[in-house]
Symmetry: D2
Subunit: 345 residues, 4 copies
Amino acid sequence: MISAGIVGGTGYTGVELLRILSLHPEVEVTKVTSRSDDGKRVDALYPSLRGLCNAVFSIPDVENLADCDVVFFATPNGTAMLMAEQLLARGVKVIDLSADFRLKDAKEWQHWYGMEHACPDLIQEAVYGLPEVNREAIKKTNLLACPGCYPTAVQLGFLPLIENGLIDVQHLIADVKSGVSGAGRKAELATLMSETGESFKAYAVAGHRHLPEIKQGLALAAQQAVGLTFVPHLLPMIRGIHATLYAPLQTESKLAEIQNLFEVRYAQEHFVDVLPLGSHPDTRNVRGSNNCQIALFQPQGENTLVILSVIDNLVKGAAGQAVQNMNLMFGFAENEGLHTVALYP
Amino acid sequence: MISAGIVGGTGYTGVELLRILSLHPEVEVTKVTSRSDDGKRVDALYPSLRGLCNAVFSIPDVENLADCDVVFFATPNGTAMLMAEQLLARGVKVIDLSADFRLKDAKEWQHWYGMEHACPDLIQEAVYGLPEVNREAIKKTNLLACPGCYPTAVQLGFLPLIENGLIDVQHLIADVKSGVSGAGRKAELATLMSETGESFKAYAVAGHRHLPEIKQGLALAAQQAVGLTFVPHLLPMIRGIHATLYAPLQTESKLAEIQNLFEVRYAQEHFVDVLPLGSHPDTRNVRGSNNCQIALFQPQGENTLVILSVIDNLVKGAAGQAVQNMNLMFGFAENEGLHTVALYP
Amino acid sequence: MISAGIVGGTGYTGVELLRILSLHPEVEVTKVTSRSDDGKRVDALYPSLRGLCNAVFSIPDVENLADCDVVFFATPNGTAMLMAEQLLARGVKVIDLSADFRLKDAKEWQHWYGMEHACPDLIQEAVYGLPEVNREAIKKTNLLACPGCYPTAVQLGFLPLIENGLIDVQHLIADVKSGVSGAGRKAELATLMSETGESFKAYAVAGHRHLPEIKQGLALAAQQAVGLTFVPHLLPMIRGIHATLYAPLQTESKLAEIQNLFEVRYAQEHFVDVLPLGSHPDTRNVRGSNNCQIALFQPQGENTLVILSVIDNLVKGAAGQAVQNMNLMFGFAENEGLHTVALYP
Amino acid sequence: MISAGIVGGTGYTGVELLRILSLHPEVEVTKVTSRSDDGKRVDALYPSLRGLCNAVFSIPDVENLADCDVVFFATPNGTAMLMAEQLLARGVKVIDLSADFRLKDAKEWQHWYGMEHACPDLIQEAVYGLPEVNREAIKKTNLLACPGCYPTAVQLGFLPLIENGLIDVQHLIADVKSGVSGAGRKAELATLMSETGESFKAYAVAGHRHLPEIKQGLALAAQQAVGLTFVPHLLPMIRGIHATLYAPLQTESKLAEIQNLFEVRYAQEHFVDVLPLGSHPDTRNVRGSNNCQIALFQPQGENTLVILSVIDNLVKGAAGQAVQNMNLMFGFAENEGLHTVALYP
């Protein structure tokens, strides 16, 4: 049994960590921090946790957190980088669900996130926590950068193709749609029910922060820079990401062969499921679970391949993947605490 | 480990039983029946179950089901009553999620359900599966009538008051709202997204089939007939029931005393949670879980008590309660397989 | 052609006034105020108005507004009372969509709204703008208090019964459900899509500001104080109010007679529509229109009458009713500019 | 004043025609047909039309419809082609909202629609009713084929680029999302609230019937065959289409120049609105209106142009466009009866 702390326990990724960890047999959540709710019971804010969580919100400081075995940062960008070094020095493993340690290039990070990075040296030490790519490194690291939600769905969809050199990586398109919980638990006009219900729009088409993260991951697989047009959209629903990916085939591969290649690539993965040919994945089928479901199409047999990839943005796209990484870092079974079935309907 | 069969596995209560039982450590689902999908894999219809359920749909007949330890009927009304007797004779325990065995008066059943009852003798044998009222009888029965969704939410809200003689049972009002999954998985105009989304209405105000079931349960507690106005409504959402109950107080009890009485009444119950005074229960806080959350108000200190009671109609209102009953019938821990946290947000 | 100003043009009632007035043949909206958006084009904030509205946001001050024939206040409570007197003195008619002039008792107003009233003398002058009750007074007034959304739906449902002495006014219950647009366009956690979507709850059960307004209106009709339990709920949708009203009959009236009484009472009303017996009104059937649809039930023939009343909270519950009042105040046809058909589906 | 008939008045495009035409000053709807509801008042089925529509459903036959000036077919595919010839022979203008007359190649029609075409000769006579392309031909025709919803949104977004030879028409991508009302008013599992709410998926990725229609329209503009990957998706909402279009630029054009080209191309169009650079169109801003709003992006200045195009699938994508065409065919102002403001929020 290990003890875990959660910094930023009042956001959606924080409460999702609590949902998952409260049933994890190897973890006790001993610290949950929130400046604004210091001293308040966690289950007073989140009645869904009544009976399952006795924690009380406390102030986020290193002393408070130093006796945890692992600390999760479910914070806005720019917070984890201020505390990670000290926690690591105290022997605490750090799992950052924010973007602070995702990009390897500190200047690029500064460009997209609008602030100077507080500990650029640590960036290189951090391991990017996509287990389907970095499993062995994850097992050994003390500082884990948990991938963004869009980057998870997009990379899992493109990777087998890129790793096998099947597509032209200069002309990739990712048309991605997310539920509004991805915007976090913040008082903002833009994510009110009256603003987002019964409506649909693209946003940040000129450039979204997840673009450099996706390109970094795909470039590593391709061993060259990639060209990607990435258009995020906001769905009138709460949970779920659906990535519709378009890639020009540069081989004569048949769809059945590509399907087979995906099935082999992910055969040993607990959480990536390649659907039978002809299937259309539906976000509801992964709602609340850590699964990614993928399907492939080659419309009219032409050379544009269409890959559909769905995840729950709060689970495989955030808290679930963080727990999957934690399991690897502590030597637990990779799917411990993640045996949930999606909530359908 | 026991083996379970599910008759009517293609409806929402059927797939919800599969969701719950696929993680239950003491149960293997060996039979799932569906005439229309005979021979098809269950997870082909429900991709949320991929990797968790190897069952194949089969034809619903007694021979097929007789080697199960327990058979759940997640069928339309009128099906369980045709097969229950034979299954019981073969030593199979029967848990009926439909209405066939809920009403003790066969004539009343015929009046509300529009058909003659096929085995009126069995009705008396059946135990009404509200564990908070009938726990000991449930443990001993082989034929369990699982309560309706509305009746569960309404009875749990009124019972402590009636058992203690605090309210005038001749003038009860239950204004109840349900998500559309309560209407089942049937091709019908009335429950299309375009018909139910972004809209709200009452239905069946002149008389709903759950009215006699609720009155039967409350009358047993009151030891007299009760007067109840029951108005169901359809919410533009999928899961959840919210009962807003109104009762005239006939004592000088203070709200704090009534609150205490509720807390004591449900102190030992795993799945009934009385919220602190001033709370407003929200259906999302029980979504996907087997919990009922209850809160009490006495507006302006006047003599109308307001009780708010929420459940997930597919869990505590159907499949979860069925599993809770099964646990009791087989001597498992009452909450085995039901340790889930509600999906928020 | 008259000129109109809108103070508080960035909220939902403000933009709804713009939607309606932009097609009104007798009105030109010449001023739309917003401190935060001063100088910005209105249609830059609300692209739905492109091509229909050339207005530019300006600062809300009396000089700016004094050359309008009428000024609408679509502001938070406490704003209209600071400017009304000066505008009236300049010969401008004032229509207040906030609560500042709804309650006749300044002390009660202070109790519920938490501030001292700035011009208690004006309260008596103001006419409560429910045309179905006060049409003649509305025609003559220069200061109109537009009713709240809940009070409109509830009063229209109860009034014919009270006016005819058919019900016991000491034991009324109003169980009312509203779309989230009723909470306004404010950056708040509580009305985020992630907080309100796919969920349902009651709120302010201990006491809501619309309670004294409803009681005041019903008491006037009853010529005595009334007893009312009023429970508001939040629907996971944007527009629409559904009031489910319960009243003890104190006569032997048959439902058909009461139905007839409602039909006669509202026969000349443009915007109140009594549905045929057996109908269940649906909020979508009045979405975007100024209509109120009402239906009556007497379940099981017992003495509790159930009245269902639906409106669009932003139209008949706010901006549409304000325009209906304006039409009366300026001698236009009462339904001018309000010939819209509800948006179904 | 002309008289209009609607065949198939019980579907969503039928009731939307009634919504629009009931306020059109030049049209009286005299016939509304429905086999299943023959003899029933239209407003009994659609209470939103109470007070605005006195029509009674009648049987769809030529005699019944022959005294109309125009007949709209809001029917499933395959119906209009059986009656159009006879109605035209009786001097009735025909506007078909189904797909019967959209494709010029009868064999291709048969391939995609799975039946033989009943009157292939008429196909050539029919005018494809996209006014922004075919206005003059529309004015003269008696047989109008109203475009599909997806084809309207996609063509309006691509046309200015193709007409000016700016893009490589062999590599077009249309990632399009539609509300569920596009699936029509049919009792089907797939469009239940419980199946489509809070979820998102692609469908018909292998090939959708609107693909050949879009390619036909784009090819006419390009004067060559085009290559298009078209992926439709189902949104968890009722009304609205959002097309996200990707095209490889084959010139050195700057975004500002392309923006200007769009603005000039659509300057005289009532219903196509090019938003300022940087805008993201939102389906709610055209909900209930006949507008198409378009915005352009060139992410990271690379050579993939992104065009966003939104319409209301039931208005500009069906009934509104049909009325726009009718106005042209009868010499009315093109926007007569279509002066509506989108319903926001």
